[in-house]
Amino acid sequence: MTETPVAAATATAEPKRAPRWRRRLLRNPLAVFGMIVIGFFLVVVALAPFISPYPPSQQSLRTTYVPPGVGVSFRGPDGQSGLWVNPVTRSPVGGLRVDDSEAYPVRWFVRGESWTWFFGLVESDLRLFGVDGPVRFYLLGTDEQGRDLFSRLVHGAWISLFIGLISIAIGIGIGVPLGAVSGFLGGTTDMITQRVVDTLLAFPGILLAIVLVATFGTGLGNVMIAVGVASIPIYARLVRGSVLQVKNREYVEAAAALGRRRLPTLFRHVIPNVMAPIIVQSSLQMAVAILFAAGLGFLGLGARPPQPEWGLMLARGREYLAVAPHVATFPGIAIVMVVLGFNLLGDALRDALDPRM
C-alpha cells in the first residue's frame, strides 16, 4: 500500500513547536515548490471564468482538434494560404484558415463573453487574456468538439479540489474517531474495528472505490463519496497506531487520576496530540483522491460528459491520440502537477513535523 510509510510519523507533544516546524517547512525548497503549485491551483479554482478565455462547453464543430497555440480566423474563405485542415477527416474545414497575413496580438485583460461566478454574485465580461478581433486563440488547442482545452482544464480544477476535500472530510470525520476509539479503548471494540478495517484494506488501492461505485452507481457525486469512504480504513489504521503510542503518557494518566471519563479524555487530550500524522496523511490523501477520481473518470465510472473532469477529458483524448495528442496530454500534465504539489507538501510536512524520520 502506498500509504503505509506515513504510519511511522508520530506526534511529539512539545509546547511552542509550531514556529519551529513552520521554519523547517519554509526552508525546504521542495515544500515551497509544492505550496506554490497548490496556491496556483487554488487561484485557478477561485478565478476560473476570469482566467479562461472562453466558456468551457462552447462547441465549434468547425474548429476541432486545433493544435496548441493556434489562432483561428473566423472570416470567410478568400483563398489564402494555410487552410485549416481537420486532421481526422483530412479535409479543409469550410472557410477556416490559419491566417498568417494579419496578426492579432494576444492581449491581457480583454473583454470577452460575459460570465457569472459564485452562484451569480460576480458578473463580468473581463477575461485574463484573449484576442481582439475576428480571431480565436486556443492556448492549449481544442478537443474533438472544438472546445477550448485550456478553458475546460481551468473550469475542471474545482472538481479535483472538491474530490480531495470531500475525501479528507469523510476520512477525518469517520476514520479518525473510529481509529482513535479503537486504539484507546482496546479490547473487543478494538478487535472488531480492526477486523472491519482489515476487510476494507483487502480491497487494495482504487478497488474499494470501484466496488462502491459499482454498487451505488457511477457519476461524479458517487465518486466523491466512494473515494472518501476508501480513505476511512487508512485514517483509522494510522490514528489507531498513533493513539497506541500516546495513550500511556503521563498526561493521559493525569486526566484519569483527576477523574475524567475515558472518551472526553480521548477527544480533549489524546487526539490533539496525534494531529501531526493526520495532517501529513491529509496532504497525501488529496493526491491519492485526485488520482483515484481521475482514474474512475478515465474508466467511464465517474464524471459524465460534458463535465470538464480531467480524467474524463483524458479518456476522450485517448480516442484521438494519433491525430491530436494534445487533447490527452494537457489534462495529464494538470493532474501530475496538482498531485505532485500535494505529495511534495505531504512529504515535507512529515519531515518538518517529525525530524526523526
Binding site: M1, T2, T4, P5, R195, V196, D198, T199, L200, A202, F203, P204, G205, I206, L207, I210, V211, V213, A214, T215, F216, G217, T218, A287, L291, A294, G295, F298, L299, G300, L301, G311, L314, A315, G317, R318, L321, A322, P325, A328, T329, P331, G332, I335, V336, V339, L340, N343, L344, D347
Partner: protein
C-alpha cells in the same frame, strides 16, 4: 514457525469472510431488485424467477449469504448476464493474463527500483540522489492511464517499436508492464534508499569498514542483505496492489485481464461477473499478503515472537 504460520492463516480468515460479505452486499445494496440485477437488464420474467429460486432470494439475508458462500466454495458464482457463460470459467480465462501482467510489472519494479534506491543511498543529498527521488515522486504522482497513453504515443504511434494494444508476444507485454510498474517502482526505490541509509549508519558497517573492507564489498556483502529485509515486504505488498492497479492499465492497453473484464462488466451492469472479479482480486490480495507475512517471518525470525 508453525505456530506463527497458523496464527497468520487464522488472521486471514475473517478478512476473506469480510470480503465475501461486501461482495454479497453489493447486489443487495445496489438500487433495484437483486434478482433483476443478477439476471440482467433484458431478462424475461421467467429467467428472473429462475434466478430468484437459484440464489434463494426469497429467503432471509443470512440464508442467502450461506447459500452464496456455499456457491463460492464450490466455484459457482452464477452466469454472466451478457455471455451466459459461467463466471468462474470467464475468470479462469482472464486471471492468468492479469497475473502475467503483474509479474512483468513487479519484475520491472524490482530490477530498476532496487538498484536506483541503492545508488541514491550511496550518494545521499547529491544530484544523483535528488534525481532518483524526484523521479520516484513523479512516479507516484502520475496517473497510470496518462503514463500509458504517453508510452503508446511515443513508442507505438511515433516509433512503432511496440504494438498499441492487446496481448500475445513478449513485445505486447513491455509497455503495459512498464506502465503498471511506475508507482511500485517508485515506492520500492524509496524504500530501498531509506532502508539502505539506515543500515549504512549502523555499527556493524563501521566495524566492516574498520576491518579494512571498503566500497563494493561492504555495500553488497553486509549492507544489502540487511537492507533488503523490509524491501521484501514492500515488494510483496506491491505485487498484491498491482493486481488491483491492473484495472486501469488493462483498460488503457485493452489487455484481456480481470481488470478490464471488471470495468466492462460494471459498465454493462453484469453483476455476477463484477462480484466474481472483485472477489477474486481481493482474495488474491489477501493471500499474497499472507505469503509476504510468512516469508517475512522466515527471513527475520524476530517478527515471529511479536
Amino acid at each position: 514457525m508453525l505456530q506463527y504460520t497458523l496464527r497468520r492463516v487464522l488472521i486471514a480468515i475473517p478478512s476473506i469472510l469480510g470480503v465475501m460479505i461486501i461482495v454479497f452486499a453489493m447486489v443487495r445494496l445496489a438500487p433495484g431488485d437483486p434478482a433483476q440485477l443478477l439476471a440482467g437488464e433484458f431478462a424475461d420474467a421467467e429467467t428472473i424467477e429462475l434466478i430468484r429460486e437459484r440464489f434463494g432470494l426469497n429467503q432471509s439475508i443470512p440464508e442467502q449469504f450461506l447459500r452464496f458462500v456455499g456457491g463460492v466454495v464450490q466455484g459457482d458464482l452464477g452466469r454472466s448476464t451478457r455471455s451466459n457463460r459461467e463466471v468462474t470459467a470467464d475468470l479462469a480465462v482472464y486471471f492468468p493474463n492479469t497475473l502475467e501482467l503483474a509479474l512483468g510489472a513487479i519484475a520491472v519494479a524490482i530490477l530498476l527500483g532496487i538498484p536506483m534506491g541503492i545508488i541514491a543511498a550511496l550518494r545521499p543529498n547529491t544530484p544523483v540522489d535528488l534525481v532518483v527521488m524526484l523521479g520516484a515522486l513523479l512516479g507516484v504522482s502520475m496517473p497510470v492511464f496518462w503514463f500509458g497513453l504517453l508510452a503508446i504515443l511515443i513508442f507505438s504511434v511515433e516509433l512503432g517499436w511496440f504494438p498499441v494494444a492487446g496481448r500475445g508476444t513478449l513485445r505486447h507485454l513491455v509497455l503495459p508492464a512498464i506502465t503498471l510498474s511506475a508507482s511500485s517502482l517508485a515506492i520500492i526505490a524509496r524504500m530501498t534508499r531509506s532502508s539502505m541509509l539506515e543500515v549504512l549508519g549502523q555499527d556493524f558497517i563501521r566495524t566492516a569498514r574498520a576491518k579494512g573492507l571498503f566500497g563494493r564489498g561492504v555495500v553488497l556483502k553486509h549492507a544489502l542483505r540487511n537492507a533488503l529485509v523490509p524491501v521484501v515486504t514492500v515488494v510483496g505488498l506491491q505485487f498484491g496492489a498491482l493486481l488491483a492497479g491492473a484495472v486501469i492499465t488493462e483498460t488503457v492497453f485493452t489487455w484481456p485481464g480481470i481488470g478490464s473484464l471488471l470495468v466492462q462488466s460494471i459498465l454493462a451492469r453484469d453483476y455476477p461477473v463484477v462480484q466474481g472479479a472483485v472477489l477474486l482480486i481481493a482474495v488474491s490480495f489477501i493471500i499474497v499478503n499472507l505469503i509476504v507475512d510468512l516469508i517475512y517471518g522466515y527471513i527475520d525470525p524476530r517478527i515471529r515472537y511479536d
